[in-house]
Amino acid sequence: MKFTIQVNEGPYQHQATDSAYLFTKAALEKGHEIFRVFFYHDGVNNGTRLTTPPQDDRNIVKRWSELSAEHDLDLVICVAAAQRRGIVDDGEAERNGKDATNIAPGFRISGLGQLVEGAIQSDRLVVFGD
């Protein structure tokens, strides 16, 4: 079965991204297809490579990046939400005159249409948030 996952909260503050990750991993392990993981609202903050969590805690961003690399997972960050919150890739940096980027490996920035398309193309949309 084909799933699209929506994540509405950033790392560490709310459990939403943990639940989404563990659900996504379990779905992949069961042989399902994850059509897309869409990061919306504060969820875009999951896509920064600049985090340095404590050694004895999980690394939420890295976990997503690694899962993406392993399963060719499409991790999409909403561009409008990202602009409000400061998640930037090379293209965004150039367009908006930013002097740095912070996007993490495996994530890409795109429009809200990607969420809608995910909902259309997938059998299920599962939303994780606050």
Partner: protein, 135 residues
């Protein structure tokens, strides 16, 4: 391509205190281009999103409430408002914006978008949907 799906946007949050109401509206507007069968439900504090007379000057925030009146132009014409949620908050439909759409099959006659339903009726509306966008 998949067939047309019934999309339900469920709005349960007040505006301005959090951004969910606004960012939900943005999905609806973008999603309209995908020609699915779209409905919106306003329940719990979500009914506050549609109140008339919002003036955000003092908060220095963008007032996005005028955008709801554009929903009809985007062919979002099924807007369910829950009676119990209104009543609990001391509101009536008079306190909310009057949202309409123009029916091109009937010489662009202006029609009401808002459907006032009870909680029991809303449960039936929900039961008839395919995909839920919860904010």
């Amino acid at each position: 391509m998949s067939e047309i799906k019934k999309f339900m946007y469920v709005n349960r949050r007040a505006p301005y205190g959090t951004i969910y109401a606004w960012e939900s509206l943005e999905v609806v507007l973008i999603g309209a281009a995908f020609e699915q069968d779209v409905s919106m439900a306003f329940i719990d504090d979500g009914v506050y999103q549609l109140t008339k007379g919002q003036d955000t000057t003092g908060l220095e925030m963008k007032n996005f409430s005028p955008t709801y009146s554009a929903l009809g132009d985007y062919e979002v014409t099924k807007i369910y408002i829950e009676k119990e949620s209104l009543e609990e908050r001391g509101l009536t439909l008079e306190d909310l914006q009057h949202l309409t759409w123009e029916d091109e099959d009937e010489d662009w006659a202006e029609k009401d978008s808002i459907k006032l339903v009870s909680r029991a009726e809303m449960a039936q509306v929900f039961a008839d949907q395919d995909v839920f966008f919860n904010f």
